[in-house]
């Protein structure tokens, strides 16, 4: 299983949805880190600890975007993706990630 630690592999201040929002935005994280890892590896663990915080724009674009863009279905992500946090304060962001994935799937359904 491949592990991506957002704070060290990407940035400890991830921010924004699109490329123009900031250097470490959700679109770039999805396209350069998350999608290739999920396509190449069977399972991917994303460690969300050690960051300054997360805004909904970043989380929705990075994780919800996987479904919206048609790369994966929500059920597939539930099998392949593990969101890990040791810091209890970040548990709410883990829940938000799954919420955005579910919402993206629901909006895609005809």
């Amino acid at each position: 299983m491949k592990t991506i630690k957002i704070a060290t592999d990407y940035s400890n201040t991830p921010l924004g949805r699109y490329l123009e929002d900031s250097e470490f935005n959700g679109t770039r994280f999805r396209e350069e880190f998350l999608k290739p890892a999920l396509e190449k590896e069977g399972e991917v663990e994303v460690d969300i600890d050690g960051v300054e915080g997360y805004g909904s724009s970043f989380l929705d674009e990075a994780f919800g975007g996987l479904v919206r863009k048609g790369y994966f279905k929500a059920a597939e992500l539930h099998r392949k993706l593990v969101i890990r946090n040791a810091d209890p304060d970040l548990a709410l962001y883990r829940d938000l990630i799954w919420k955005y994935i579910r919402q993206a799937e629901a909006r895609k359904a005809p």
């Binding site: 940035s11 400890n12 201040t13 991830p14 921010l15 924004g16 949805r17 699109y18 123009e20 929002d21 900031s22 250097e23 470490f24 960051v51 300054e52 915080g53 997360y54 805004g55 909904s56 724009s57 970043f58 929705d60 674009e61 919800g64 919206r68 304060d89 970040l90 962001y93 955005y100 919402q103 993206a104 909006r107």
Partner: protein, 387 residues
């Protein structure tokens, strides 16, 4: 034959008469416009005073700012700031003085001095907006405003020194700025839309806040709010169609040790939330058409989940994120001033078991804040509670 000559003659006479009439009308109109021009010229001269320069031509004046502009002999403007700059209690006077300064800076570039001599109180948010205006002036004109610091109130001098104001004015901070005050300000930070790692500025502010307090704060919630404020500016505040040349935002914080209150402020000089909000519902379009949909109502509408100027379903969660930092504390308040409206959410917790009690408030004003100002104000009880 005779009758034919008579008809031709009558026609010629009618044409001549019509010509004379048209000439008379044209002359009357010319005389009227000449008198009007003369009258306007004379009245402008009367208003202009001894310098011969009419301040109202350069700055927006209203009842609050009427006596706040003077013209020097070298045809420059001197702007006086009022005794109190505070969006909470003196909104109209504060906003209209900033509006006056903005017009003077952007419109004419004729401002030579900004006088702080009368100021007795300046709130943290007003200090940030003032700093943003002077910062903008420095960037546009590439020269500093003149300031007579000798006559400033000591508290104001200390505040402006902490905020980085003296650097903007191009003068060193005075060595002796008196005993430490109850309220400490942090140096403001400026971010530019499209700059590389904007999240680092938010992190830097948090580190400075914790160094000032001596204990950690709820950093995840603060970053959540600030990151969404920054994203909103990037996505909505400066639409390409409006031709903004400087797409920037300013950020600062202050701590009142007496009240145990931390205040974090974020300001942009963009189109404002009311200006970029889509009108989805028919009644909103109708209300907007008749001018009965106030700016404060538009800000409140923008707080709804899923409402975004992008009209994409996945967007429009950002403004909700702003609430979290205020909600995470025993007592917290989020105030959003945008264009001519204000929306405020106050949250109070009685115990850990129950959720916070939330109340909201809206208000519309005569003068615009000149963009969007977001202010978080939270009570910090102790280090344990904030850890």
């Amino acid at each position: 034959m005779e009758s034919t000559i008579g008809t031709v003659f009558d026609t010629l006479m009618a044409v001549k008469k019509a010509g004379n009439h048209a000439r008379r009308l044209w002359r009357q109109r010319w005389l009227l416009s000449r008198d009007r021009r003369d009258f306007l010229r004379r009245s402008r001269k009367r208003r202009a005073g001894p310098g011969g320069l009419d301040p109202s031509r350069w700055v927006a004046l209203n009842s609050h700012t009427k006596g706040s502009v003077r013209v020097t002999s070298d045809r420059k403007l001197v702007l006086d700031l009022p005794e109190r700059l505070n969006f909470d209690a003196d909104y109209e006077a504060t906003a209209s003085h900033f509006q006056m300064l903005r017009h003077a800076v952007r419109g004419s570039g004729k401002v030579s001095e900004l006088r702080f001599n009368d100021i007795k109180y300046i709130s943290p948010s007003a200090a940030l907006v003032l700093a943003s205006e002077v910062d903008r002036w420095n960037q546009r004109e590439a020269r500093q405003l003149r300031a007579d610091i000798e006559s400033w109130d000591k508290n104001i001098e200390r505040l402006l020194c902490q905020m980085g104001y003296f650097e903007l004015l191009g003068i060193p901070c005075p060595a002796d700025i008196g005993k430490p005050a109850r309220v400490t300000f942090l140096r403001f930070k400026r971010g530019t839309v499209g700059a590389k790692d904007l999240g680092k500025l938010a992190q830097q502010l948090r580190v400075e806040i914790e160094a000032l307090l001596g204990f950690p704060i709820k950093k995840h919630f603060l970053f959540e709010g600030l990151s969404e404020a920054i994203t909103n500016v990037s996505q909505h505040a400066y639409p390409d169609t409006e031709g903004y040349c400087l797409k920037q935002w300013w950020l600062s914080a202050s701590y009142d040790s007496g009240a145990g209150e931390l205040c974090v402020m974020f300001y942009d000089q963009g189109a404002g939330i009311p200006g970029t909000l889509p009108k989805w519902k028919l009644f909103e379009r109708v209300k907007d058409m008749f001018g009965t949909w106030g700016d404060s109502q538009k800000i409140e509408a923008a707080m709804e989940v899923g409402r975004s100027s992008s009209r994409l379903k996945e967007r429009g969660k950002g403004l909700q994120n702003l609430l979290e930092f205020a909600r995470a504390h025993r007592e917290g308040r989020l105030s959003i001033y945008s264009s001519r409206g204000m929306y405020r959410m106050t949250s109070k917790r009685n115990g850990e078991e129950t959720g916070p009690l939330t109340t909201t408030q809206r208000q519309d004003f005569e003068n615009s804040v000149g963009g969007t100002l977001i202010e978080w104000s939270v009570k910090l009880a102790s280090a344990d509670e904030n850890d």
